[in-house]
Amino acid sequence: MDISRTLNLIARHRVGAVIACLLVFPLVMPYEALAINILIFGLYAVGFNLLFGYTGMLSFGHAAFLGVGSYLCGIAIVSGGWPWWAAIAAGVAASAAVGVVIGYLAIRTRGIYFSMVTLALGQIVYYAFYKAERWTGGENGLRGIRVETIQLLGWQLNFVDPLTKYYVILAFVAAALWLVSRILNSPFGAVIEAIRENEKRTAACGYDVARAKLLVFVLSAAICGLAGALRALHLSIVPIDSLHYLQSGQAVMMCLLGGMGSFFGPFIGAAVFLYLEDVATSFTSHWMAVVGLIFMVFVLFFPRGIWGSLMHGLKRHGLGKEAAS
């Protein structure tokens, strides 16, 4: 069948497929800022999914990594006067460092206890940044992250122009997606899936489960930190809400909506979630009720999410075997 061949082709070149979609994406969106938002939160959900969908560890504290990435990138620019690329690196490094600490403490627990420990530690990060007003602006958030032009290989790019901004951010997102795809395809990617399936068996096979979990936790934190750093550049401010646990919950919703444990799922989830939010807010202030209702329909009737259900349906008809993963 032709559909089958196309799907398997997409699966084999999944990074290319996502990038191709994202290249034309802003042209079909109502406005560029929404497209940029989807780009950033898509990456956030992909980072989260590495831990949740592929390793089977449900963190309720991932806002900490998005927020720390944003704040440290912002602080590096506002207080440190660093160039934008060094500020992004600072955000990613800080998130990874916080990931080492939170991960080290949380991976000792499993299941619901892991979720609760990450939630609690995430809240500690929230209050720490809330109180450190001198650096973070406290309740008002961090303001004044001005990046107007970006020098890239001798080019002067106007970062205020939304479409240019979109493509600059896309370059980072594309690189991160390539890295995630590479990791998922690697021997280590097989180990984390084995951990999700059966931890005891993975250890009996000779794998140090605690070390693998910590490594994937830090990788996940770093990718979410990159999403955060890009968001700081996009918004020019860092709202304190970035660190709020509702933001952690959003990553869970996006993954479930799109389909956890799949490469395309989180991005689709982020796009649908933010698009719905955008449409719903235009006619009701109770947009969370609309999104919540749709979310409940998915959890109850399509637990595999949009991409997962689609692939499952096609597979039942003997199509697109490779594309499901």
Partner: protein, 249 residues
Amino acid sequence: MSSGTPILEVENVTQRFGNFVALNQVSVAFQPGKLTAIIGPNGAGKSTFFNVLSGAFAPTSGRVRFQGRDITGLAQHEFARIGIAKSFQITNVFKQLSAHENVRVAAQMREARFELLRPRASLRSLIDKADHLLERVGLAALRDKTAADLAHGQQRALEIAMALASDPVLLLMDEPTAGMSPEETTVMMGLISALAAERTLVLVEHKMKLVMGLCERLIVLHHGEFLAEGTPDEIRNNAHVRRVYLGEG
């Protein structure tokens, strides 16, 4: 007793769970190249003993030595690396992965544990090794099937292929025929005797009849204590053992 250094040696092992003594001062030595079974009636401490041997937990007191090296309290993942593999009593496979991927992941342990950027598909020898092992346990035709969709006996066979994938010197099996149909049991016993020709094998078994014709040595536990050791004939004629098994009915 046979001569030579034992491959696995258990010395005065005691295991307590709260006030309950599951194993009491058990000392046993396993000779290399032999197929040994640990038997005993229900509650004899066989499973606890298996867990101590295979590193699921460290004993309350006593030592375990492998090829002369003290391995008491060694981390679970180290066991496979030094050459001790196990198959569980309750089937433990990676349910959502294909049969082939289950074995391939297990085989990968020796070559690539923390490689993040090399594609899995480039490790061609592991793919072939997994295929070879699937063929060995009779699952070659089911290579692409999801493990969860395999029959119970097939999942047990898959587990054995996974255990073999780490090239173990010593293979430990906890009730390998538990829950199997008579046909599946026959196939499994054939596989066990074939495997025993290549390496040291220790199995824990509840059904005494089953191991009598299969094993070279038997160790009998009763109420957490060492009761007897010997060839099947010696065990069959041992007055203590007869009393324990007949007493149980």
